[in-house]
Amino acid sequence: MSFVADVFTRWQDPAIRVQRNWIFTLLWGRTSNQRLIWPLAYMLLLCGMAIFPTDFVRALYFPLAFLAFAPSLNTAALIEALGHWRVRKPAGAVLIAQALLLNSLVWSLIGLLFWYRTANPTVLVLMGFAWLFGQFMAFALPQAFAQRSLHPAQGHAWPVQLALAVLFVPLFALLLYPQYEIWIRAALLLCTLALLLGLRVQIQRFGQPRVMSPRPASAAAQQVSLSAKSALRFRIETNLGFALDAKGWRKLLGQLLLTPYALILLYQHVLPMPAVNQWGAGALFAMQTGTFLVHFSARRQWSNAWLSRAHSRRQLWWQDEQLFVGGLLLITGLNYLLLRLLGMDNGTQIMNAALLFVVGMAFLRYLVLSLPWLNLFGLNARGRTDLQGVGLAFILLMPIWFAVAWVWSKGVQDQIELMIISLAAPTPILAYFSYRYALQIDLGAIRRAKLS
């Protein structure tokens, strides 16, 4: 208790106050730009949560509020960088605790305001747990976060991945079992108290000089696999544009599955909004659209495939399309099963959304790749970069997007089926034209485009 007493009794200690306030500002960001942007973002977030309608607060500000997780990972790395300020001394632990307390009060305002506006105390508890958990991990494994990027996905130490998994357990528990919300909230409160004690121990332990002398996380990154990859895996990685290692899988699964499902389940169970009660299969597939299209853009690698992995443009095109169609069907099938399993929508809607996703993605891809004046995937149908094409693509495709969303939201089965057919019908023709353009594609232009 003497440490806790020290934290409060020495609050006005001039020797500590200046350093504490300075560390508090650094907790917002290590650079002056970050220290400008984060407080501004925070103020905007608070104002928005105070002013806008409750439904809007639920929809928009709830995910933004979880940004509290990101700055909390900055703490240990910051303090490690300040090591020459002798913050490892016992007085330093008090200093850090005061700065963290101040930081937690600032960020807890978001949770309190959210509770006030939405009458949902569980979110407040969840955010408090997330913030404390982030602090605990930052001090327990400082070396995992001591690198240029403080995003947890950059960490290579397995405890970081475990920490992320642990953090998502209560979140999904609330989403999947809302009937047990009170019990989950109670468990979170207990965990939060335990975390407080654990954090106190970690801060004191962090104050010991020998703690921050492990090998940096970047050393773990050099333990790369030296085994040759299979040709199929190599082609898939070429298609995706990144390696299918642990980090790549996290990126893929996070973008394609974790984020969309988490958001939809949040809006369905934790923050039910009558205005968006049709959110389900349609919204989920819609959220995957951009990610899916971006990750199947292997044309940028056609230039280095020539003479080695491929000897004709037809072969390049066919390999690409095999992966695209295979990936499309795999993702659609997986989502179909998950949606049915989680009961996120009725069977008819799920089937409609799956069919719409398949034909829509194919239509979009072949439309852009059959019209050389459009550019959506970095390269147009002729293998060249074209910024004007990007603008034209958005202008052309936005009305199509809105039309599809409007028909879907009306929920009329006949109209949805007609929409699916109207997208599916021209797709083979567009595919043929994209094939013809691919046969004439300039691989030298692709190489130069990559270098520009």
Binding site: A228, R447, K450, L451
Partner: protein, 293 residues
């Protein structure tokens, strides 16, 4: 050499800045051809057209008897190409890149790869995105050479290499063509390397191959004729003066840069010029600079 034995045959090639209508050129086994030209002359464009990266606007190219835009797999395995700037996949490590290259070639010289990796000190365990430009270029060269192609095409391969690695590359090229069965087409601005290794030269000027022949032939055909004032000319120098591309005049001497020097011109000068004069042979770089001005 029968055309059918040629590795590459090109006729009337027109593509972008390259306008070689009416010209034909070949790559024969055992040749090291240096491709030189000013910036923007079309060297990379020409290489892209010869290897099928880009479709020709007109003309015909045959690589091992096949059009370059549709070569069978076994023909592609006979070609190695390294672009001016490497076109590697940044998320792979060096070893993964070589392993991936090996996947798609039936023949792979493991000893060669190990020797080059050790001699050039390529950090195979490092991710390509974290390698320096020179290291990436070395890796690209090893990947192109490892399957011992019959035709190796290099576009400015030494631009990013340190002098030690550059010298090692030249030695490797010499070793490649030593058996007389393989050829190298080397585009480079480093004329000392071209002079050291090339047997033939393609000089690309204003979109056309203004010279296609042996390297020594080009060097011997471009000279500086230093004339001392007062100039005394007893007879007509019509033939010589018709080959003058540039002159430099100073108080004491006059220098004529002559392109197309041969025995006939030498005889004409010996007969007509009675004041002291001196014929200076030029190195490849000096010759190129003179004719490019």
């Amino acid at each position: 050499m029968h055309v059918s034995d040629s590795f590459l045959v090109a006729r009337d090639v027109e593509l972008g800045a390259v306008q070689c209508k009416g010209q034909s050129f070949t790559i024969e086994p055992g040749q090291v051809i240096g491709l030189v030209g000013k910036n923007g002359a079309g060297k990379t464009t020409l290489l892209d057209g010869l290897l099928g990266y880009t479709f020709l606007a007109s003309g015909e190219v045959k690589v091992f008897g096949h059009p370059p835009t549709a070569m069978p797999k076994e023909v592609c395995s006979q070609i190695g190409f390294v672009a001016q700037v490497d076109d590697l996949m940044p998320w792979l490590t060096g070893k993964e890149m070589l392993a991936a290259a090996k996947l798609f070639h039936t023949h792979w010289n493991k000893e060669l790869v190990e020797r080059l990796v050790n001699n050039w000190r390529v950090p195979l365990s490092q991710q390509i995105s974290e390698m320096s430009v020179g290291e990436r270029q070395k890796l690209a060269l090893i990947a192109a050479m490892a399957h011992e192609p019959k035709l190796l095409v290099l576009d400015e391969p030494a631009a990013s290499l340190d002098p030690v690695a550059r010298r090692a590359l030249i030695e490797e090229i010499i070793a490649i063509v030593a058996d007389g069965e393989r050829s190298v087409l080397l585009s480079s601005h480093i004329f000392s390397d071209i002079e050291r290794v090339a047997s033939h030269l393609w000089l690309l000027e204003n979109g056309r191959l203004s010279f296609d022949g042996e390297l020594d032939e080009l060097k011997e055909s471009i000279v500086r004729l230093h004339l001392t004032h007062p100039l005394k000319i007893a007879d007509s120098l019509a033939l010589t003066t018709s080959r003058v591309v540039r002159t430099e005049v100073s108080a004491e001497r006059e220098t004529w840069i002559i392109r197309g020097w041969n025995d006939e011109l030498a005889a004409e000068c010996a007969a007509a010029i009675t004041s002291p004069y001196h014929v200076e042979s030029l190195g490849l770089e000096d010759a190129f600079v003179e004719i490019s001005q």
